[in-house]
């Protein structure tokens, strides 16, 4: 094995950093794709998750059981398998879906399952009297859900939702597997040309994600404080059970 002097090592590191520095704008550009995917899949997950949770709580068996089945299926299948099914599945039948779209659906449906679990817990934590009082004043069930139940449920969900956010931020990198031009794919421009800079490149990406997850969590914490209403707090509405924030 070759023994390199500390001076040479230092020079290599500095050169490496310089190379990474040149690629940084490109990496950040690619990160934008991750962020767009994040926003799209969160939106899909939020919309479907809300509907699924409402069906689970308020619908009869006819719609409630399928809603639970949906949640279970999309929680139990790994993200990569879903990505493959949504991207390569249609492709095989001649339908070419852009990777971004396939990833939005695959990861969005998956997130909707986790989000429905969060919202369901929150809805069930709201005392029955709230619905009763709303109905007693002449509100329809739908009106009561929109005006009384959901505003409370969403607030109660925020801590658990922040955890879900932290999970999916990181999961956007999985779309690499279906060829989405996101940050990890872009990193190949570095690693294929400068094989020995792989560690430095991935460390850089790791740091970028640290900034992203922690600033995202910080913002959601801020939002939570802003939306906080005295007396409307709840411990223990959990999503994936891997809690980033305490």
């Amino acid at each position: 094995m070759e023994v390199s002097s500390p001076i040479i090592e230092k020079r290599i590191v500095i050169e490496g950093i310089a190379v990474i520095g040149r690629y940084l704008p490109g990496l950040l550009q690619a990160l934008l794709t991750n962020v767009q995917l994040l926003l799209a899949l969160l939106a899909v997950g939020f919309a479907i998750g809300t509907v699924v949770a409402l069906l689970q709580v308020y619908a009869g068996h006819f719609l409630g059981v399928p809603a639970f089945l949906y949640e279970w299926v999309f929680r139990s299948i790994p993200a990569l398998v879903l990505l493959f099914l949504f991207y390569f599945g249609p492709l095989q039948f001649g339908v070419s879906i852009p990777p971004f779209f396939a990833a939005t659906l695959a990861l969005g449906f998956r997130s909707s399952a986790y989000q429905s679990q969060i919202f369901r817990g929150a809805i069930q934590a709201i005392p029955q009297g709230q619905m009763m009082a709303a109905r007693s004043m002449g509100m329809s069930r739908v009106r009561a859900i929109i005006s009384i139940i959901l505003p409370q449920a969403f607030r109660l969900s925020l801590p658990a939702w922040s955890n879900e956010f932290s999970s999916v931020v990181k999961d956007t990198t999985l779309a690499y597997a279906v060829g989405l031009n996101e940050i990890l794919r872009h990193a190949r421009f570095i690693t294929e040309r400068y094989y020995n800079l792989a560690m430095l490149a991935y460390l850089t990406i790791a740091l970028i994600f640290l900034v992203l997850t922690y600033s995202g969590n910080w913002s959601l914490g801020w939002l939570e404080k802003r939306l906080r209403i005295p007396g409307l707090e709840m411990a223990g509405v959990s999503g994936r059970g891997r809690n980033l924030s305490k």
Binding site: M1, V73, S76, I77, P78, A79, L80, V81, L82, F84, L85, F88, G89, L91, Q92, F93, G94, S166, K170, D171, T172, T173, L174, Y176, A177, L184, T191, Y195, N196, L197, A198, M199, Y202, L203, I205, A206, F209, L210, T213, Y214, A235, G236, S238, R240, G241, R242, N243, L244
Partner: protein, 224 residues
């Protein structure tokens, strides 16, 4: 267009499934050991130990698992550490789950700290003895539900190891699917296998949990 299916796929996929289970079990075990050390470091380590432990935990919880895997597989060799694909997978997954498990342990230790520790020390036990005989036995029972949680999670996340050429169920599926261009059929089967696996494992874990419960201990530990 007709769908393709070949019975010969099943034994191949089953073998992949076995690899998946092996990787998961080993990495969770690695995670338990390392996670416990990290938690002890954070709680009892003083500033010298607790800051590095805390940095480790924040790093591995704040960055994507896939990045961690690529670091181990492509990055470590540039430091002169070259691991086989499967070892890379196990190491990356183990390092990752350790960070989460450390937090579960820390929560559990802090939940039984205080009164229990004081009582133990008052009987003349050393700090190490109190940790060993009083704190940890209780903390372990509190984190059991988190272990099953992690096990299920890792069962699913372990699928990323196919990206470093490991022939787990995902890797086998990918190979078969690419050979016959039958992604839809193969990955429906893979999805069903995962569904079955997750279902069976979570039922088993639930049974185990019921057996080791101490009445009144750790019921709300997860959300402390």
């Amino acid at each position: 267009m007709g769908l393709v299916f070949d019975w010969a796929w099943l034994p191949q996929l089953a073998h992949g499934l076995l690899i998946t289970v092996e990787i998961t079990v080993v990495c969770v075990l690695v995670g338990i050991v390392l996670g416990l050390l990290l938690a002890l470091g954070r709680v009892y380590g003083g500033r010298l130990l607790s800051i590095p432990c805390s940095l480790y935990i924040q790093f591995f919880r704040g960055t994507p698992l896939l990045v961690q895997l690529l670091m181990v597989y492509y990055g470590f060799p540039t430091w002169g550490i070259t691991l086989s694909p499967i070892m890379s997978g196990i190491l990356a997954l183990g390092l990752n789950t350790a960070a989460y498990q450390a937090e579960y342990f820390r929560g559990a230790i802090q939940a039984v700290q205080g009164g229990q520790m004081m009582a133990a020390r008052s009987t003349g036990m050393s700090l190490a003895q109190a940790i060993r005989y009083i704190i940890l036995p209780q903390a372990f029972r509190i984190v059991i539900p988190s272990w099953s949680n992690e096990l299920i999670l890792m069962l699913k996340y372990s699928s990323i190891v196919y990206m470093v050429t490991v022939m787990d169920i995902m890797g086998v599926g990918n190979t078969i699917a690419a050979r016959h261009f039958s992604f839809f059929e193969v990955f429906i089967i893979v999805a069903l296998l995962y569904l079955a696996l997750v279902f069976i494992v979570s039922q088993l874990l639930r049974m185990v949990e019921r057996h080791v419960q101490i009445p009144g201990l750790g019921e709300h530990a997860e959300h402390r």
